[in-house]
């Protein structure tokens, strides 16, 4: 229990008769970066408000370091956390004043404030902006200020509410890498909400998928992205190959699934007759020229024709029509060596264990 810095139990948030959040349990582990992803309206910001003690839930309770929080004075707990929002929300004063804000609120002595502020301005590379007015900064500079303002407080939990969504790509990239480095260095516990899957992949130790106010899956990042637990999660998480089929038979844990005219073999727990959804990572598909194969452990081989090739520099995204549309990632090198182009006859192969089977709603 005490591995969790923050825990939410039976969380319920209602507005009128609309249920915004309904989560049985959510725990944030010490020093982890937990990213909660979901589409607009899923309840992400509400979740962050509740966890950050800014909003009271309709039902349920929270625990901080194992200590149950009642609705009495939450101020001391709030002072052990910090929040950064999508907009920088700086005060109409200098960058230095803004960054010192939290420390001043906590009545830190003046010289200690100066010291800490200087340190964190430096860490975020904005020391040269110390005397500038918060209103005159660019988006990236302002967001760095907001982050410095939060980190200078040495928070036990740092909340980030879509902090990069209003930045342009290059600004975002430079800030993302700076921030990840700082967070790793300090081993801060972070809860971040975002819509961006790439951010989640880049930052998160664990990822939670929030759809319609419910936490549908919470697991290590690679697990969520490789093995989404259901169709809508898969849709949101952006798995590239989504294939519909029906289980024909099960033999020693190996499923034979009818997909159109072909049969795909995969490992799963569903029974015969079940409608299923298969997910397959493009990296896991191998392409080869038709001809005798040397005998591989791969159980799935499908002959097809390349319908499209998208050149992404070092990587080629090749779509093959082999009874179902399959997207594969091939290195450019291989693609050239093999002389692949639209219309080429190829065989797409993949292991049964690479296929993730989800029960499909229908």
């Amino acid at each position: 229990m005490t591995d969790f810095v923050l825990e939410a139990h039976d969380l319920l948030v209602e507005k009128g008769d609309k249920v915004l959040l309904d989560i049985a349990h959510l725990g944030v582990l010490r020093s982890e970066v937990l990213v909660v992803i979901g589409p607009n309206g899923a309840g992400k910001s509400t979740l962050l408000s509740v966890l950050g003690l800014l909003e009271k839930p309709t039902g349920g309770w929270l625990a901080f370091n194992g200590e149950r929080l009642d609705s009495a004075d939450l101020l001391p707990y709030r002072r052990r956390m910090a929040v950064v929002f999508q907009e920088p929300l700086l005060l109409d004063t200098t960058v230095r004043e803004n960054v010192s804000l939290g420390l001043k609120l906590r009545h830190f002595p003046h010289d200690r404030i100066e010291e800490k502020v200087r340190l964190w301005l430096d860490k975020f590379n904005i020391s040269h902006l110390a005397g500038r007015s918060g209103r005159t900064l660019s988006g990236g500079e302002a967001q760095r200020t907001s982050l410095a303002r939060a980190m200078v407080l040495d928070p036990e939990v740092l909340f980030l509410d879509e902090p990069f969504s209003s930045l342009d790509q290059p600004t975002k990239e430079s800030l993302l890498s700076d921030l990840k480095r700082i967070l790793l260095d300090k081993r801060t516990t972070v809860v971040m909400v975002t819509q961006d899957r790439e951010e989640a992949r880049f930052f998160g130790d664990r990822v939670g998928v929030l759809l319609g106010g419910k936490l549908r899956q919470l697991d290590r990042t690679d697990v969520v992205f490789r093995s989404p637990a259901s169709e809508d999660i898969a849709g949101f998480v952006g798995v590239e190959n989504l294939i519909h089929g029906i289980v024909r038979s099960v033999e020693q844990g190996l499923l034979k699934i009818v997909v159109g005219d072909v049969v795909v073999e995969a490992v799963g727990s569903q029974g015969p007759g079940k409608k299923v959804l298969l997910t397959l990572r493009p990296e896991d598909i191998m392409l080869s020229k038709p001809g005798p194969s040397a005998g591989t452990s791969m159980r799935n081989h499908f002959r097809g024709i390349i319908s499209e090739i998208s050149d992404r520099g070092a990587l080629w995204r090749i779509t093959v029509d082999c009874g179902f549309p399959a997207l594969a990632f091939i290195t450019r090198q291989s693609g050239i060596e093999m002389g692949l182009s639209p219309g080429t006859d190829v065989v797409a192969s993949f292991k049964a264990t690479s296929v993730h089977v989800i029960e499909s709603g229908g």
């Binding site: 408000s49 800014l54 910090a82 929002f85 005060l91 939290g102 918060g134 909340f159």
Partner: protein, 232 residues
Amino acid sequence: MDLIWQGMLEAFRLLIKGDREVIGIMLLSLEVSGAATLLSLLLGIPVGAFLALSNFSGRKLILGMVNTGMGMPPVVAGLLVSILLWRSGPLGFFRLLYTPSAMVIAQFSLAFPIVAGFTMAGIGQINPRLRMQIVALGASRWQMLLLLLREARLPLMAAVMAGFGAVISEVGASMMVGGNIKDQTRVLTTATVMETGKGNFSLAIALSIILLALVFAVNLTLTYIQQKRRPA
């Protein structure tokens, strides 16, 4: 036109000579309007902030009243306060009528809605998410309020100037509840009206010029303070 020139000379003469009666009238104007403005700040700023930040049934009605109060004709305010302070009125036993205190009360009733209205607008235009951010950084209720007031300092300064300007230049209320009594409740505005009525135009203009100079000096100081605190 030479009447105005004569008035300016007269104003100069009275001030340089330190004419006791005129100085007394000036000081009383400043005291009464200053006190009224100060009181309206003490009450008006919290009320304005409260109205901006809170939600309760009937809020729109109160907002409407404040906005109406901003345009209240001074003579009407004076009449209403008189009725309250008359001997036969509900507050008659205080014996406040025809005293500077009555004038402070009447002027307060004019300045208060102005200050509250400006504060309400100034705080109301602050991004509501900023309020959340301030709380999220660990501010207590009071700390948040003070920070918001600081954020709205430009419109708040405007509130002070508007409130003070409104009351030091009004005559209707001061006349009604003060009575323009020599050495007791005579201020620059009521003295000007009286001298005009008597036909002493030069003197009336001189008093007007002194009043304008006073208002200008005060507002210049406040403007300087307001603009100085503007971030670079």
